[in-house]
Symmetry: C2
DNA sequence: TCGGAAACGTTACTTTATACCACCGGGCCG
DNA sequence: CGGCCCGGTGGTATAAAGTAACGTTTCCGA
């Protein structure tokens, strides 16, 4: 599965899309600056590709899309950019799919954590507020004398647009 | 990382270990029978290898250990056995590590779902009751018009035995 | 006992991810 | 000013995880 993926949203004027993308890139740049990380050309290119998708996308899909645009890279280069983007918090990793998506919720970087709802059909990802789930996890961990470091809460299923009986 | 992994528990008399393993295999067999699935030799071998670990283990590690014992298999064979074991509910998959571990809580097969606490040092996994987390996920999904199919909650960190300052 | 489904074997391959080493460019220290 | 360190990049190779396709065997029920 290297190509072809249903769009999570309906059609949108390309000009508007581009403006949105530019804004997202700008916000990413902001995030990098705030963390004293460098928003290099490579990182910007990779981020733009992820953000343009509006869904989760695998590292090798990013690679392929950049290649189509003339930027031929080794996998390792993409992964390095991804690592930096993850560190800056501008993308998230979807563990259950080995894929990545652009974070659209600023507040994640200021304390609140979301859970991920990933559509199996269109690959779109919603980030919704966790409503105490992470606090519960902390409590359960403590009760088990377990020291948590990274917590994953992911749901795989069908988004509203992809539900059967809604053509 | 194909070899060498710290033991999650202290030393235990090998005879006792073997008895425990035999019991686990027996319970697995039970689970297969109840679901009208076949507990074949291959599945039993793979299950025994996973259960003997008392921790999470990757498919290729299982492969290597079976090979050491003279059972040389293709990866696909191991994966097929794993699929059957997952279906029977006698093992779980740890999404964040691409690894598997034996389920030690019968009650999971009767409705209750656990969350997983996975130690980064010894690879041991604790399954603790979710205390309403999955119900919260259902509620949040519904609020987002999302139809959940597979949910997972995993925590990566350090178990009590592996915490710093406890040699 | 025979026919179909489920399990298994074999080969090859895809997808995901990392190790290793060389190089380059910019900032900083002497 | 020169040398050096360091983060980022490029390239090659390879590890690790997972699957497709297809043929053969085994099991079980009609």
């Amino acid at each position: 599965m290297t190509e072809a993926q249903a769009k999570p949203n309906g059609p949108m004027p390309s000009a508007q899309m581009e403006r949105k993308l530019a804004k997202a890139v700008e916000r990413a740049q902001q995030a990098f600056m705030e963390k004293n990380l460098r928003f290099t050309q490579l990182r910007q290119d990779v981020f733009a590709e992820i953000a343009a998708t509006h869904a989760s996308i695998g590292a090798y899909d990013i690679l392929a899309r950049l290649a189509e645009k003339g930027t031929r890279l080794a996998p390792i280069s993409v992964y390095r950019a991804i690592d930096a983007l993850l560190e800056a918090g501008v993308i998230h990793r979807l563990e259950s799919k080995n894929a990545f998506f652009a974070c659209r919720r600023i507040e994640h970087r200021t304390g609140r954590r979301p859970i991920f709802l990933a559509c199996e059909n269109c690959n779109g990802v919603q980030e919704v507020d966790s409503d105490g789930i992470f606090e519960t996890i902390d409590r359960l961990s403590a009760a088990a004398s377990f020291q948590p470091r990274v917590k994953f809460v992911e749901v795989s299923g069908l988004c509203e647009a992809c539900r059967p009986g809604k053509d």
